[in-house]
């Protein structure tokens, strides 16, 4: 089945369960109640040297009831899909709210949201779960064989497939049903005869179906895989970098992760306010600086959205029933917006929520999670060659690899699949043992130019982690190629004391 809701989900007694829980919550005095019923199917295949190493298919199905009672949150979740059990969850959620009340000094209130009723399905053509497993495995074997070549000692090929159905209902009258499908194929080659070296495909996970894996729709996976042995051989032979300051031309395949860590997480309002202080951390972009903080250079404009076609965070409505929107986060280098949920939008007097609530299952509470957060390209066509032309001594950076950033989203360090030397405006061979390290505002302030629409690519992650209990969220980040001046580059061998 393609591009529709799965009747095996919609035939569940969704409305009856919601009615039972919501009516019970109302009788008990809840001022807000919402019900989420979610079925999430997750499949993974992993091949190593063309042999199946791991194969799993897991389905999660349950119901969660969240209430505001006594001006406090309460939540309960279970797996029994009967009206009695749903009503019982409302009882438990109200009881939890009553426990919270003495320890909650600030009453919970939600920003207003119109009532929405509807269905939404992410755009995909072929349901990956409809493909015979033999065909899926054969595709991974085919990719593994394409990645084999001189100097390649091992090949891994993997495929992640997710099919997410969510039903949402609240006391105000909203009722929505949504389906999101996403896939993530990856191939990695390794050389072990002269030290350990690896090279992985740079394609993103995508809110698409089997057509992305097998038919090149959205990414030419076959072309990239065919190049892996060559790129790996170049890396094995590459000279070690001399640490120092370099200009960087960064491809979207690497820059997306820097955006994710240093912009998208830093502009989550719950972090800025301190709600994540003990776990994910806070943010240097504090709310008192909203509208004035110079985040980056004037060519930096970053948007948040839940509407991008094939975006991993795209949806019709968020997990608090708020309609998907687009909004500015950084405009001309100035921080102008946060990601919001309904509670924090109301608490800070910011008006309507911009629809950034998400829970990874019915068993978890919706948190403020990032939408698709994307760096906007230049309006005129500026190519990668145009950017490289401006560099006398620098590095051209392709593909993400290692990443780490501090708990206020200031100090970060990233590596890449490939670093190429740039010499006098031309891309030369690969260099090895490279990491770039910077402070967020210094880095984005050094961005001299962004590429044009032709360089813009939607990248992303399947499993961004946040919250306690921990939750995992899919998110896309669009980016053009971009030029950064004088970035601190480390030699990782020297850092490890081996140079």
């Amino acid at each position: 089945m393609a591009a529709g809701l799965d009747p095996r989900f919609t035939s569940l007694p969704l409305d009856a369960l919601a009615d039972a829980a919501l009516s019970r919550a109302k009788v008990l005095g809840a001022t807000h109640a919402d019900v989420r019923i979610a079925r999430i199917r997750n499949g993974q295949r992993l091949l190593r040297d063309e042999t199946l190493e791991s194969s799993t298919d897991a389905t999660d199905l349950g119901i969660g009831v969240r209430v505001i009672h006594s001006r406090s949150w309460g939540f309960a979740a279970g797996i029994t899909l009967t009206t009695d059990a749903a009503a019982s969850l409302a009882d438990q959620a109200v009881a939890a709210a009553r426990i919270s009340r003495p320890l909650s000094s600030r009453p919970v209130e939600l920003a207003a949201e119109p009532v929405h009723v509807g269905e939404w399905v992410s755009p995909f053509r072929i349901d990956p779960f409809d493909i015979d497993d033999a065909e899926r495995i054969e595709r991974l074997v085919q990719l593994s064989r394409s990645a084999t070549g001189p100097g390649v000692d091992h090949v891994t090929a993997s495929l992640d497939m997710i099919d997410e159905h969510k039903f949402y209902a609240d006391l105000a009258g909203s009722r929505t049903v949504q389906r999101r499908v996403r896939v993530f194929p990856q191939v990695e080659v390794m050389a072990t005869s002269d030290g350990y070296h690896s090279m992985r495909t740079t394609n993103p996970p995508a809110a698409r179906g089997w057509e992305f894996v097998a038919f090149g729709e959205g990414w030419d996976l076959d072309a990239e895989v065919a190049q892996l042995p060559t790129w790996l051989a170049e890396q094995v032979a590459a000279p070690s970098i001399e640490a120092g300051r370099y200009d960087l031309v960064i491809e979207p395949t690497n820059l997306w992760l820097t955006i994710h860590e240093s912009v998208a997480h830093a502009t989550e309002l719950d972090r800025a306010l301190g709600y994540e202080a003990a776990y994910a951390g806070t943010s240097f972009a504090t709310i008192d600086t909203l509208g004035s903080l110079r985040y980056g250079s004037e060519v930096m404009t970053v948007t948040g959205d839940r509407v991008a076609e094939h975006g991993l965070a795209s949806c019709g409505w968020d997990d608090e029933g708020v309609e998907a929107q687009t909004f500015d986060i950084v405009r001309d280098g100035i921080h102008v917006g946060y990601q919001l949920n309904r509670q924090m939008a109301q608490e800070q007097g910011l008006g309507r929520s911009n629809g950034c609530a998400f829970a990874d299952s019915s068993g978890h509470i919706p948190l403020q999670r990032m939408p698709n957060v994307s760096l906007q390209p230049a309006q005129t066509e500026i190519t990668v060659s145009d950017l490289v032309d401006r560099v006398e001594r620098g590095l051209y950076v392709v593909g993400d690899k290692s990443w780490s950033i501090d708990m206020q989203r200031y100090n970060f360090q990233f590596t890449a699949q490939r670093f190429y030397a740039i010499e006098d405006g031309r891309i030369a061979g690969q260099v090895a043992d490279v990491a770039y390290q910077a402070t967020t505002t210094e880095f984005w302030g050094s961005m001299e130019a962004v590429g044009g629409p032709g360089t813009y690519t939607l990248m992303g992650a399947l499993d961004c982690g946040k919250g306690q209990p921990g939750q995992s969220a899919p998110v896309s980040h669009g980016a053009p190629a971009a030029l950064f001046r004088s970035v601190n580059v480390l030699n990782t061998q020297a850092e490890g004391g081996h140079a």
Binding site: T192, G195, E495
Partner: protein, 457 residues
């Protein structure tokens, strides 16, 4: 009764062999921030994993499916789908015969559960801590969680196993109003009976007081005392990249000089370190439970096999690496299952306080954060210090220092560690959402590489 469902499921299996695992979990949690409770909840979940195995010439082809089960019919349906998947499945890389069956006497017992009531005493202490924090003009953040899972595991070879896993944790973070001074304490527990909220609050506030004097230090190499929590995070990361098969293939820091060899037998530390895991002093199931194979580390074919206590390092020498039964057979090694607990012990009786008193000038860390691999071959990792870097001068803590980004290899740190404290139960920071139980010493490292200053607090 769950075990009746399992028997019905096994009876319905059409594959050559079948493994059924049912996990019933209950969970309760409290979360607080800025001196108030922010969220709480209790959850109930029950799921099953079915490993249906088709054999051709003895080689397994596995269909592995997991799903929610609310009834016997749900489980039978899942078994049917797994058996269908096994018909399509190619040969498994980790194929092995089913383990020798063992039957537990308590196999037919029911599920053990928890609820939000488990926090009854702790919540009172927490309430006092939040009130005291408001009074003092500081801020308190944190999380408490209790999780109880009952697992039944049955195989068509006759194994009937049951185990109950109870785990919990508390994290308490206190900050000055400007959120620069910050301190953290954490504790692992099985049942919250041993959690003293007042004592945790007193300890975190004692540490917050160390932050009154703020000192700026540049990047560089410092004599550093890594407390047990930080050591735990580094050892867990090392443990999880220690696949014996991957080492033989030259893919990890434990690869030997020659192709197909490992570093087993090599001295990794001059301190008499023993790194071990398994059921014993720390909680862990006594048999293998694998609901999805982790390549090179664990295999669904090993479900029900004994999970033994294993010394990975003994007296500073690398003694074992994790192997599945299939990879062990291929390599001439013994099966070695990496249980979800970890102990590092040198036999030292020195306390952390004594290590501080014997330090002329050095840093005491609280914990590490955002630890990620930079170079797989050397296991070079990068990460940040968090919630308290303290300067020690002449045996006394004289104030807090800015945070740093570090670049270090945990395996190289074992080599360079010059002193260890007594091992104690500790909660790691980075990986505690899934790895709860560790016992670790503090380690003194004479030249820890603080690569750059982090302005974060």
């Amino acid at each position: 009764m769950i075990t009746d469902w399992i028997e019905a499921g096994l009876a319905a299996a059409t594959s050559d062999e079948c493994i059924v695992i049912v996990r019933e979990s209950t969970e309760a949690n409290l979360r607080w921030a800025i001196n108030m409770l922010t969220t709480n909840g209790q959850m109930h979940h029950r799921s099953a994993t079915v490993v249906a195995i088709r054999r051709t010439d003895g080689v397994g082809h596995a269909g592995v499916l997991s799903g929610p089960v609310a009834s016997e019919d749900d489980l039978r349906l899942l078994v049917g789908h797994a058996c269908a998947a096994a018909l399509e499945a190619p040969a498994s890389d980790d194929s092995a015969p089913l383990p020798e069956p063992v039957v537990d006497a308590d196999y037919t017992d029911g599920a053990v559960r928890t609820s939000i009531d488990v926090f009854a005493d702790f919540a009172q202490g927490l309430g006092r801590a939040l009130a005291a924090s408001r009074e003092a003009g500081t801020e308190t953040f944190g999380f408490a969680e209790h999780h109880v899972s009952t697992v039944w595991l049955a195989t068509s070879a006759g194994a009937r196993r049951r185990t109950v896993m109870s785990s919990g944790k508390v994290e308490l973070n206190a900050k000055h109003a400007d959120r620069i001074g910050s301190a953290w304490v954490g504790q692992a527990t099985t049942d919250f009976a041993d959690v003293d909220g007042d004592a945790l609050a007193a300890e975190v506030n004692r540490r917050l007081a160390w932050c009154e004097n703020r000192i700026e230090l540049p990047a560089g190499r410092y004599e550093t005392i890594l407390p047990p929590s930080a050591v735990a995070d580094l050892m867990i990361l090392t443990y999880q990249t220690a696949s014996g098969r991957d080492a033989e293939q030259g893919r990890t820091v434990f690869a030997g000089d020659q192709p197909g060899t490992t570093r087993i037998g090599e001295t990794l530390s001059s301190l008499p370190m023993t790194l071990s895991s398994g059921p014993g002093a720390l909680p862990a199931p006594e048999f293998t439970i694998v609901e999805g194979s982790l390549p090179g580390l664990t295999s669904v074919y090993d479900n029900g096999a004994p999970a033994e206590t294993i010394d990975w390092l003994r007296d500073g020498v690398l003694a074992r690496l994790p192997y599945t039964r299939a990879s062990a057979a291929a390599s001439g090694q013994e099966y070695a299952f990496p249980s979800d607990n970890l102990t590092l012990d040198t036999g030292s009786s020195v306390t952390l306080e004594e290590m501080i008193r014997s330090t002329t000038r050095g840093l005491l860390l609280t914990c590490l954060w955002y630890i990620r691999e930079v170079d797989i071959a050397s296991l070079l990792v990068t990460g940040l210090t968090r919630d308290g870097v303290y300067l020690i001068e002449n045996g006394e803590i004289v104030g807090m220092v800015n945070n740093f980004r570090f670049n270090e290899s945990p395996v190289d740190l074992l080599r360079r560690a010059s002193q260890a404290s007594v091992a104690e139960g500790t909660l790691c920071r980075e990986w505690n959402d899934y790895f709860t139980f560790t016992a670790m010493p503090a380690l003194r490292v004479p030249d820890f590489n603080m690569s750059t200053v982090s302005k974060a607090y």
